[in-house]
């Protein structure tokens, strides 16, 4: 019954066991936290193979840096900081400079934009086209801007939380948030000019 025994062990006990050389004790930790790490990774990577690579890297880094976990905060917070930083590294490494033009949009996305242009209330927030569209717009942003917009506007986190997750100071987060919003507006303006002006 090794699985049921592992479930009963706390994070601190499992971490202590891993640090004492019992590598198998890391598996329950991975099992427990992988759904949350997958959610985070899916916010920044589209392809499932990329998501899996990010999650794997997060856990490998967590294992390697486990000795630096002091236990002052819950393991989950420490792991999520590692996950956000790994996602940021991924965005920087896979920076795509391809400019999106209106011609790249699918019919659904174009229809949604046209409906919005005609009457904003006709274009629903929950439409799949809107979700694809925002994904495209986010992919246009710089890594820092995308990270800040995702954490601040989409995940609804506070500036202090973002500061703790990214390791940036509070003023830096505020400046980057301001620039990120401006960058996103610029991107939308470009698209609007291309199609509607």
């Amino acid at each position: 019954m090794p699985d049921s025994a592992a479930v009963e062990r706390t994070d601190a006990e499992l971490i202590a066991a891993v640090l004492n050389g019992e590598t198998a004790s890391f598996e329950p930790l991975v099992k427990k936290y992988q759904p949350r790490v997958f959610v985070t990774a899916r916010r920044y990577a589209r392809r499932e193979s990329e998501v899996e690579d990010i999650v794997q890297e997060v856990f490998l880094k967590a294992f390697q840096k486990l000795r630096s976990f002091r236990g002052d905060a819950p393991f989950e917070h420490w792991l999520m900081r590692l996950a956000v930083r790994t996602c940021y590294d991924f965005l920087r490494a896979h920076r795509r400079n391809r400019e999106v033009s209106f011609a790249d949009f699918s019919d659904e996305e174009s229809d949604w934009l046209e409906r919005f242009a005609a009457n904003p209330s006709d274009a629903g927030d929950d439409a799949a086209a809107a979700r694809q569209l925002v994904e495209r717009i986010l992919a246009q942003l710089s890594p820092a801007a995308r990270l800040v917009i995702t954490l601040l506007e989409i995940e609804d986190r506070s500036v202090k939380e973002i500061s703790a997750l990214t390791g940036w100071s509070v003023p830096v987060v505020k400046i980057r948030a301001f620039r990120a919003r401006a960058e996103m507006r610029k991107c939308l303006k470009k698209l609007a000019r291309e199609k509607y002006l």
Binding site: A24, L60, F63, K65, R67, R70, I154, A192, Y196
Partner: protein, 101 residues
């Protein structure tokens, strides 16, 4: 086109679309299979931890020395004050210079 409203709608769409929590089958096995033998020893973290552990004893030593110096000065009846000691020490080279020349 109202860009602020478009931005708001798109962000609301992204907020409503939380990514799934589904995990590929036996993903944890894949991770564990790739783990190196032991977690790496983080020298910087160990040094950092040691320094933090040393903070409390160092503060205690400083406080004890401070109290001891304060009390020993109060009990010293020679009439010499710290200011006079400092002055004598600072002027010592000049005094010896006058004697030499």
């Amino acid at each position: 086109m109202n860009l602020a409203e478009l931005q708001r709608k798109l962000l609301a769409a992204a907020r409503a679309n939380r990514p799934g929590e589904d995990v590929p089958y036996a993903f944890e096995k894949r991770v564990v299979a790739r783990l190196p033998g032991k977690p790496a020893t983080d020298l910087l973290a160990s040094w950092n931890r040691t320094l933090w552990h040393a903070v409390a004893p160092c503060v205690a030593v400083v406080l004890l020395l401070g109290v001891w110096t304060f009390l020993s000065q109060r009990n010293d009846n020679s009439g010499e004050t710290l200011a006079a000691d400092l002055e004598n020490t600072l002027y010592a080279p000049f005094d010896s210079q006058i004697e030499t020349w």
